[in-house]
């Protein structure tokens, strides 16, 4: 029996497998990204980078009660001018590095994207969906007019592909997805707003009180979001949310995803999660007789 081909491509970006490291997880230090890429991730998205250096929130930045995982890290980042060396180190892996950026308006996004292009990223991911920082992320990503302006502006300013990461914390996802339709791909979904209270200290656990729920708890929301967008729009979608196994990835691909991102599963399985999901995907394709991912991409939409 021959081994299935699990490569995929998003526009002109070719990936050796569909598993990308999601933004926010192990992607602040260039050496870490380089190690994860050498251990099986096909690409890595950097932590979201803004104009100025930010420390993020005080710990606790995570509230964990397996399988519940909520975070409010607070967009810590060294500022766009200090991130070039980390990206350079990560790119020594030879694999695509995608630069995630967040800003408060169109002009900031354009400036950040231009810098990322200079640093040699393969694409820019617009964080239009961080659920827990005031003035950024989903406060912007919930406004279709602002989303349209930012995406158009960045698309007009750089030649690299632009991905838009959208929030599930909106009334109508399709309105926002349509507003972002100039993007080269949509990344669905960011975390779902959530909270955890410790009943003995009688206090919210996260220092920011509210955070973003991720992991297996949100997989059905992610699957529904990808399915809904792919049912209505012709645009590449990258699925994110609760992927812990190759079989979870198959579900996203059957909903129409071109590739997927993995974040929280690193908490459960460590960096080795990337080789685990790759083996499981190969196992599924072998047992079901698929030679290529295209053979079942979007198959559930039909």
């Amino acid at each position: 029996m021959s081994i299935s081909d699990i490569s995929t491509s998003i526009g002109n970006i070719n990936l050796s497998n569909p598993f990308i490291l999601a933004s926010g997880i192990l992607d602040e230090n260039g050496y870490t990204m380089k190690r994860i890429l050498s251990e099986g991730a096909s690409a890595a998205v950097t932590k979201s980078i803004g104009m100025e250096e930010r420390n993020g929130y005080k710990p606790p930045i995570v509230a964990i009660d397996d399988p519940i995982f909520i975070n409010a890290v607070g967009l810590p980042n060294p500022g766009i001018l200090n991130v070039g060396e980390e990206i350079k180190t990560a790119r020594e892996s030879g694999k695509p590095v995608i630069g995630s950026i967040f800003g408060k308006d169109e002009n900031e996004f354009i400036e950040l994207a231009g810098k990322m292009e200079e640093y040699g990223v393969s694409a820019v991911e617009l964080n239009l969906s961080c659920p827990h920082v005031k003035g950024f992320g989903s406060e912007i990503g919930g406004d279709p007019n602002l989303v349209r302006k930012i995406v158009k502006g960045v698309k007009g300013a750089i030649s690299k592909p632009v991905w838009s990461k959208l929030s599930p914390n909106v009334t109508n996802l399709l309105d926002i997805a349509n507003a972002a339709s100039d993007s080269d791909a949509l990344v669905l979904i960011n975390t779902v707003r959530g909270m955890k209270i410790d009943i003995y200290s009688k206090k919210p656990v996260l220092s920011n009180k509210v955070g973003g729920l991720s992991g297996s708890s949100i997989k059905p929301v992610g699957i529904r979001s990808v399915y809904e967008v792919k049912s209505n729009m012709d645009i590449p979608v990258i699925g994110v949310g609760g992927i812990e196994s190759g079989f979870d990835a198959v579900e996203y691909i059957m909903a129409g995803a071109t590739a997927v991102q993995i974040g929280t599963a690193v908490w459960k399985y460590g960096r080795a999660v990337f080789s685990k999901v790759t083996n499981e995907l190969l196992e599924f394709m072998g047992s079901e007789g698929y030679g290529k991912i295209e053979e079942f991409r979007g198959i559930a939409l039909k």
Binding site: L26, T32, G56, V62, N77
Partner: protein, 249 residues
């Protein structure tokens, strides 16, 4: 999940270090740590300084959170999650425990009849847990010469035939550990080192404590000497709270 236990007693060890004793019916290995939360303030990583039926957290006062923790009274609750991290390896035979500053806290569970100690601090009153070793099995160094050898931890190690130990366990600030690693590089000795870096999540996802792509919180905090010798960032550079790269002085 957050554990909450009431402490049994709060012991003063040095002017800046206290130990909180409590019962917690969970298996913990020497070298592992918990993320200790002071509601309303912050959360900090702390090694367990006793890992048997009675557990202990040894607190060095250096900020709001550790100060509050060191003031917890018997009967009051502390909050933490874990245990996390890779423990020290167990060996049979003679061991040497090398602790700088409050580093002896995480080595304390390894003290037994086969263990000798090297304790170093700035001055005599900051020497931690030196009294737990028999008098003929302890070497002390102080920067100001107020007790033992006048000098640093490497000056103390010069006095010892390191090759005769089955394992040497080291814990302390990164700069101190770097000096130990430089001192022993190339020699045929078994050594494990417990490293310290800024830590936020404790569970291997936030990248704050990473060193050469290893996460201190999940791949460490204990590492074998051969791994540490391959680390380009060790003792040279790390990331600040924001993720900005900074260099050791």
């Amino acid at each position: 999940m957050i554990n909450s236990v009431r402490i049994l007693r709060n012991e003063i060890n040095t002017p800046t270090v206290n130990s909180l004793y409590f019962h917690w019916d969970v298996r913990v290995e020497p070298g592992q740590f918990v993320m200790t939360w002071v509601p309303g303030l912050s959360e900090i990583p702390m090694s367990l300084s006793l890992t048997g039926k009675e557990k202990c957290l040894t607190v060095k006062k250096y900020g709001d959170t550790s100060n509050a923790l060191s003031n917890v009274k018997p009967g009051e609750r502390i909050f933490f999650r874990g245990p996390y991290g890779k423990p020290f390896s167990k060996v049979r035979g003679k061991t040497l425990l090398v602790g700088g500053g409050s580093g002896m806290a995480s080595l304390r569970p390894l003290i037994d009849q086969d263990a000798s100690g090297v304790v170093a601090a700035r001055s005599s009153d900051e020497l931690l847990f030196k009294g737990l070793f028999p008098i003929d099995k302890i070497i002390v160094a102080t920067d100001d010469g107020s007790e033992g050898i006048k000098g640093n931890i490497v000056d103390a190690l010069r006095e010892i035939e390191l090759e005769k130990y089955e394992m040497i366990y080291v814990c302390g600030p990164e700069r101190m550990i770097k000096s130990v690693v430089d001192f022993v590089a190339g020699r045929n000795i078994n050594m494990e080192l417990s490293l310290e870096r800024n830590m936020k999540c404790g569970v291997g996802i936030c990248d704050s404590c990473s060193i050469d792509g290893f996460q201190l919180c999940t791949d460490g905090p204990t590492f074998g000497l051969s791994t540490v010798l391959t680390m380009k960032e060790f003792g040279r550079t790390k990331l600040a709270e924001s993720g900005k790269r900074i260099w050791f002085q």
